[in-house]
Symmetry: C2
């Protein structure tokens, strides 16, 4: 598996992790202590805040999962990949692309963009 | 015009600027002094290096131009947009997506990814 694909797979595993303790373990292992996450809807700095963002998504959409779409790619410390979020069985509801910067082999910064959101009611 | 679209339009105008003096003026006006540019093929820091990267592309592909594709989007200090590069009249040869981080209204960092490259001969 290519490095960018490994990164993306591990990253989405964090987003799919429902157990807060395991999320903090993953963040401690794979992210820098002052890592930053930001997308158009939310942002956080450090493991506690980022884990809380993930937990809030699980609370709101308990039956939804993230999955990788397309082929991740990267160079040097940079990677990007796209994902879909929706019911485990069924069509995705939201799609996005995340851009990651690593430092010393750990995730230092994630900036997320939304590629598809549900039409307004 | 939305903020991300203005940013992308100004950014591609720099890449299409053949005059080194005007490029340095654009970089001085719109980028931070220590701005970083990186893509899978090249990288540079600061106006002189970034202008030289743009110049090298013009030297190699003198009749090619960059144009915006799709709809740029952004939030806070972040933006992304996609572009195509090719002859002014004719199909694009290379396509890519750039992620931009701004600081105090200036471009501080650009990370470029390639979406389509010519098939290997």
């Amino acid at each position: 598996m290519k490095q960018a694909e490994q990164l993306a797979t591990a990253y989405l595993a964090l987003w799919n992790e429902r157990d807060p303790k395991r999320r903090l373990d993953l963040l401690a292992s794979n992210w820098t202590a002052d890592a930053r996450y930001a997308d158009p809807l939310m942002k956080g700095v450090g493991a506690a805040e980022i884990s809380a963002l993930v937990g809030a998504v699980h609370d709101r959409f308990p039956a939804f999962r993230f999955r990788l779409t397309g082929a991740p790619d990267g160079f040097e410390d940079f990677a990007r990949f796209s994902w879909a979020f929706g019911p485990e069985q069924g069509d995705a509801v939201v799609e996005g692309t995340d851009f990651v910067r690593q430092a010393n082999g750990r995730i230092a910064s994630v900036t997320g963009f939304l590629d598809r959101v549900p039409a307004e009611a």
